[in-house]
């Protein structure tokens, strides 16, 4: 009986698409739900080339990866329901989906795979509600999806990969980036990303924070200042920059709402964005029928999200009897190898350790 109910995948970003593809390939009934009018999640605003190896589609632009995943899902005939917001789920795995913001549907799922991504963090400072202050993702959506520039002179807060990538892309769309502000003493993003901005003359302000934003009806200038050892601004170092846009790129937090409603236990892992659902090596949450993949299971990158999606898809298909033990083991092993490759080096090791901690914790409970 359980076998006839669909596996419901929420979120058609890289993680959700890969999970649905694996499930469909194994012959499991699957429904993929996404709030947007186009699948791909955040991939379609990623116009830069990805890192990784050939297996990770490295050197390929994000939107191209989105398109190819999409083609694959179409070829497989996956039931993708767009403009469908999942607004609730109960412990009985009944998914409350709202279609085209016009009608609701309750879908009973045999397994639930949550690939709902993450929410951008905010930073509060006087004036941060002024028009012109926005998240980096907002600016990226506007320039790369809608091809509209939110402003001409941009200050970016946060030097992680999101901040520097969006900064570069704003310049590609014709804006000036007047600076990148980083509270920590050293820059967060990959050196190759920061170097693209540096050679375009963009100044980096490390050990610096934004003190206030000012303007009458919209942003006209921002004041920045160096910070002391406890991250408090030093008044004597204040300087004011003429800007019409501030982009906040100060990290992401896993979207927890649906997994909380489903009753999944959580763990706090600062390296991966804060509180997130606990999960095992197959991406299964503390509720055995619910899987969590991609940023919602700890903020990383699209490349890791895809592999996590595959893990969950394979395991869910196996758990419903759509895959043999041997096949499952083989697929899981090769996926884990690729995942491990992505979690190496100065940037990756921290994430590798954090993930290991989550898995270990899930076994203890």
């Amino acid at each position: 009986m359980e076998k006839h109910k669909p596996v419901v995948v929420v979120g058609a970003g890289p993680a959700g698409l890969c999970a649905a593809i694996e499930l469909k390939k194994a012959g499991a009934p699957v429904i993929l739900l996404d709030e947007n009018d186009k699948p791909g999640g955040q991939l379609f605003k990623q116009i830069h080339k990805f890192f990784g190896s050939r297996e990770h589609k490295a050197g390929t632009r994000g939107f191209t990866i989105g398109t190819s995943l999409l083609d694959e899902s179409l070829k497989l005939g996956i039931d993708v329901r767009l403009e469908t917001e999942v607004v609730g789920v109960d412990p009985g795995l009944r998914v409350w989906a709202v279609r085209q913001r016009a009608s609701s549907e309750l879908i009973e799922a045999s397994r639930l795979i949550l690939a709902t991504g993450a929410t951008e963090n905010a930073l509060s400072f006087p004036g941060w509600t002024l028009p012109g202050v926005m998240t980096a993702g907002c600016a990226q959506t506007l320039i790369n999806v809608y091809r509209v520039l939110p402003g001409k002179r941009v200050l970016i807060i946060g030097s992680g990969n999101v901040g520097v990538i969006v900064g570069y892309q704003l310049m590609q769309s014709g804006a000036e980036v007047v600076g990148i502000v980083e509270a920590l003493p050293s820059l967060g993003g990959y050196g190759v990303h920061t170097a693209k901005l540096a050679r375009a003359g963009v100044p980096f302000y490390t050990g610096t924070t934004v003190v206030r934003a000012e303007g009458v009806e919209s942003l006209e200038r921002a004041t920045i200042a160096q910070v002391d050892g406890s991250f408090k601004p030093i008044a004597s170092t204040e300087r004011t920059l003429d800007v019409d846009t501030i982009c906040l790129a100060v990290g992401l937090t896993p979207s927890l709402e649906l997994s909380s409603l489903a009753g999944c236990r959580t763990i706090y892992v600062p390296e991966l964005g804060g509180r997130m659902p606990l999960h095992d090596e197959y991406m299964r949450s503390s509720v055995q029928e619910v899987y969590v993949v991609g940023d919602t299971a700890g903020v990383e990158e699209a490349s890791t999200a895809m592999e996590e999606g595959r893990l969950a898809g394979v395991h869910a298909a196996w758990s419903l009897g759509y895959m043999s033990d041997d096949d499952m083991k083989e697929r899981v092993d090769e996926t884990k190898q690729r995942l491990n490759a992505l979690r190496q080096g100065v940037f990756g090791q921290k994430r590798f350790n954090a993930k290991a901690r989550i898995i270990q914790e899930s076994q203890l409970r």
């Binding site: 709030e35 917001e85 999942v86 607004v87 609730g88 789920v89 409350w96 709202v98 913001r101 016009a102 009608s103 609701s104 549907e105 309750l106 879908i107 929410t119 963090n121 905010a122 930073l123 509060s124 400072f125 006087p126 004036g127 941060w128 509600t129 937090t253 927890l256 709402e257 649906l258 909380s260 409603l261 959580t266 706090y268 600062p270 804060g274 509180r275």
Partner: protein, 100 residues
């Protein structure tokens, strides 16, 4: 203190950092309690923008790590849904068809 206290934390309800700190000093120890005391997070976005900020202030005031804070409760719908869209007519019809 300084003007920083007057900065908004909750964009929707326009709740200031000062109000949140006052609520914590008056006994609020979770995001949910801060919400009840100050309305921070009660607005149309339901705390999606300010939850992390409130957590940071709470942790700071209580002298604990954010990891130790109690996770906040969630109730559906997790996105704004129009009254007219809370309508499962189609699901019921389909179920009836399948059962009949």
């Amino acid at each position: 203190m300084n003007s920083d206290d007057e900065r908004y934390i909750c964009r929707c309800e326009e709740v200031t950092e000062k109000e949140i700190r006052e609520a914590v000093r008056a006994g609020a120890r979770t995001v949910t309690e801060v919400k009840r005391w100050t309305r921070a997070g009660m607005g149309i976005c339901q705390g999606r923008s300010c939850k992390r900020l409130v957590e940071r202030i709470l942790a700071e005031e209580l002298g604990v790590s954010p990891a130790e804070l109690e996770p906040s409760t969630v109730r559906p719908p997790i996105r704004p849904v129009s009254i007219s869209a809370i309508n499962m007519e189609e699901t019921r019809e389909r179920n009836d068809r399948e059962e009949g």
